[in-house]
Symmetry: C2
Subunit: 285 residues, 2 copies
Amino acid sequence: MRDLSGRLELCAMNTATLGYQAPIADTIDAIAAAGYGAITPWRRELEEVPVETVARQIRDAGLAVAGYCRSTYIPAATREQFLANIDDNRRAIDQAAVLGAASFVMVVGSLPEGSKDLADARTQLAEGTAMMLDHARAAGVRLSLEPLHPMYAGDRSCLCTVEQALDLCEAIEPEPGPAPDLGICVDVYHCWWDAKLKDQIARAGAQRRIFGFHVCDWLVPTRDLLLDRGMMGDGVIDIPTIRGWVEDAGYDGAVEVEIFSAENWWQRPIGEILDVSAGRLQTVC
Amino acid sequence: MRDLSGRLELCAMNTATLGYQAPIADTIDAIAAAGYGAITPWRRELEEVPVETVARQIRDAGLAVAGYCRSTYIPAATREQFLANIDDNRRAIDQAAVLGAASFVMVVGSLPEGSKDLADARTQLAEGTAMMLDHARAAGVRLSLEPLHPMYAGDRSCLCTVEQALDLCEAIEPEPGPAPDLGICVDVYHCWWDAKLKDQIARAGAQRRIFGFHVCDWLVPTRDLLLDRGMMGDGVIDIPTIRGWVEDAGYDGAVEVEIFSAENWWQRPIGEILDVSAGRLQTVC
């Protein structure tokens, strides 16, 4: 396993961690000044600024783009809405290409309003991902399916485990060769509980399908399902063990900090969040 | 699948659903008067009353005992505490025997204070369950492992999926014959999200290991990780489909209502909770 001490260039900052407190230009400068090697921006930050401008700012700051967040939810109540979701994702993939993102991060969505049919949501997910993959290949962008914690199965993700994500990868891209275009993002928050995690990470690594690795921590107690993630070291996840599995599986990309924390970290200055994250990355991850 | 309409005798009420508003004697009478066929009491309700008294009250009311809740958490920071937890569970198993409970429900616990070692918690779980099983067999009580939703992996359950629970059953009791003493409880709240659920329920059924079936609903949004379960029909779980899988797998025991709802249902009179649950059991489950 890589020693992250003094190697902040191996680490990425997901801009959501900073709570969107500043315009993207300032966020880029702050992340670069703090010594991180990469950034993962969100689409909402590019609504007011041309993507080419942001791409240049990131390059000029010396940062790589670890990922681009995130897909519009795929499953929909109507075929028309489903197709609109895919179209929207194609536009985002084009942006990811301009940014030079290592992957486009897919948070896939789940039950459309009024539906209880998880199986149908998963069928739509498979079809939609296959449609996106064609576009992504043409654009030179890898798609990174991010299984979310099962507590988001109702509204945010019908993709709940690494195993399920890999099953989907194999169904859509059965013989990818040495450089798959469809892979997964392993976020410790979403999958730390899974008794099969070690084996599934090894499976993903053997297929070279690990496109991203996210860290934060699981707080006990957790007070909000969405916005109470912890800073690395403040919770109960054994992050070094999971990072060891991921790197033993061949992953050599960025270790990315992604923390949604409305009541705690998002209330603090960006500089403090960046500094504390940097310290924890080098000591407890 | 059984038609529950007019068949409330096939249904059980878990007393937690009623918010422990009344003494156990009154709770028993109310559940029987509402027409349910079975009750699942909690240990906390038997602290002030001899178990023999409660067992007689339940019998006199014409109710069966679907389950007895629940085990003391097994994993501990010290060997001494671990052994004390097992001893405490043996006493509870003896109570379950007096009650004539169809099974003793095991909520297994997870990380001891200060630990991040899920693998160790799972090792303790396996050892402790095996120790309890010897005692349970002697007492004539079946042990029902209840995998909890992965959002409880930090503090309440290192047993997170039906698959994991069955793996544990097979490891501890590899050749159970036609009447296993170790099985599982399927609670839709904990496992509805799982893409492998249908197959794992079939696996459990083939081994005759389904000892209990619990219903409630997953609300969107869910406002509290522990105490915001929904009444059947108010959320997004496709309960009839899952009940169909369970009954196709051979389960013919009670359909049990277990709802933790501090801000909503527990604020209502017991009679209302019983009536609404009865209605929903017969229409949306």
